[in-house]
Symmetry: C2
């Protein structure tokens, strides 16, 4: 797997190990050692890295999560462009080294955001962000490459997520930390509805997808969209500071659609996965994690 | 421009010069010198090449035709995968060097081949060949990059073509040469209908697109699809050897659709371009070119 030291990746390692998988992970720098995981040191952006890596790993399955995801800037960072080539080189090297099944991380930002629930079968793919475009470009090429290489490829489109270990600049983490620190927290009006899933459910969905025979695009979504305002109110009540949120103090992001949510029939019926962590429980756990100072460093 | 030494590219150079454009062209090796064209030596597959190239050229417009197009193998050659990254690096470097307008070559193989006429507006993009997938992946990323870079990007989807200078292994050239050499020429039954355009019209369509303000995908197609059998019969009658073609001796290619043709409303009405070389005239000229031994080397 790649991206094992990332937000989703860390939880995927846990989910893989708990399912009894033998895990090999790639990192740019060693020193990430962790029990029961074999680490390979490689820079996936180095064009020469992939064959040596897949040759050494001799893996049957691949979960590719690594990408440029710096909070705030990742939607439009040119670094996204390099991850198309890195992902395709990894895919070909894995196929040529005898790999059998691949799961890669896509995004809800591949869809045309037209205010409807996004369906893998019916919704047009028309990304408007560079992040979404580069992810979708990768899938377009990877799908045909996998066919040619005899690989089974599934493409998990991630929607919105939160949970312990989230980067402190991302929505839920930043609201939790701001409130815990006693600050006023400015937000948008927050009427837009989003499909949020706990990162541990997202990770288990990826592993379920890996363990299934399903190919093609699959939404990694809960099927439940709530107004961001309600999510933030839930956080504020959980922290015990409902009065400190300043709704409407931030302007809405331009081009922000009213609804981003994913159809879940493929994930539920074909992969057989259902999320198990409700928002109340998940936010409670996340607030407790931050309160315990686990994210202090 | 890139790909200036290729089949379409050579004709694009002529069309650009005849329109009074100042032309700068890229080639891997110098020695391609040609009157009125400034040549730059660069390997577009070298990740470090693009900034130096666009910095030196200081061009306002870019036509990017270079790609891996070895006859026979190009549909599934892994080299296609490298041209995604090469094209995107070129695009970003061009935009950052102050470029204004870009035309890139796409392909009819980006469309789902469902037996209908392919429309830029309505036909789903669902390539099944690696060539088509890598071209489409490039467009997906390039469209959003261009937006971000403030570049006007048009994407010319090439259908079928023929004419003087064609590689001798491609359909029309190989039939012409086989018949001129006095051989029997085995072909498929040839009932499939295809939209063929003379390479010189294709080249002038690219230049018209460059000179227009049109952005997005535009089919470079004639709008007229004829059975491949009829095209081959036309060649055979032109050569004077109608009896030497052996229809049905080659099996049909698997997955070969009955019709591949492009809607031409955008090219005709928005770009204002119409092809001027009919098939009879174009095949006559092509046969004469091969007969004169121009392609002997």
């Amino acid at each position: 797997m790649t991206g094992a030291s990332g937000f989703i990746g860390g939880h995927v390692v846990d989910a893989l190990l708990s399912q009894g998988h033998e895990v090999q992970a790639v990192a740019r720098h060693a020193g990430m050692a962790r029990q029961a995981v074999t680490w390979h040191e490689a820079d996936l952006l180095d064009p020469g890295a992939h064959e040596a890596l897949t040759g050494a790993a001799q893996a049957t399955h691949l979960i590719h999560l690594a990408w440029h995801v710096a909070p705030g800037s990742f939607w439009s960072a040119p670094e996204n462009e390099r991850w198309i080539d890195a992902s395709l080189r990894l895919l070909r090297a894995f196929g040529e080294a005898g790999g059998r099944r691949v799961v890669m991380a896509g995004t809800c930002a591949e869809y045309r955001w037209d205010g409807e629930v996004s369906s893998e079968r019916h919704t047009p793919l028309a990304p408007t962000t560079l992040y979404g475009a580069c992810k979708h470009a990768t899938h377009v090429a990877a799908a045909v490459m996998a066919e040619q290489l005899g690989l089974a490829l599934a493409w998990g489109r991630v929607f919105f997520l939160y949970g312990p270990g989230e980067h402190s600049d991302r929505l839920v983490a930043s609201v939790v930390r701001g409130l815990l620190a006693g600050h006023e927290v400015p937000t948008t009006e927050g009427h837009q509805r989003r499909d949020f899933m706990h990162v541990s459910d997202v990770a288990r969905a990826f592993v379920a997808l890996l363990d299934s025979q399903v190919t093609g695009a699959v939404n990694i979504a809960s099927g439940l969209a709530i107004p961001v305002r309600e999510l933030i109110m839930l956080i504020a009540r959980t922290v015990g500071e409902p009065a400190r949120v300043r709704f409407g103090e931030l302007p809405p992001r331009s081009g922000e659609p009213e609804l981003i949510a994913g159809e879940t029939a493929r994930l539920t019926d074909e992969v057989g996965f259902r999320p198990t962590i409700g928002l109340r429980e998940g936010i409670g756990e996340t607030v407790a994690w931050w309160r315990a100072g686990a994210g202090a460093t």
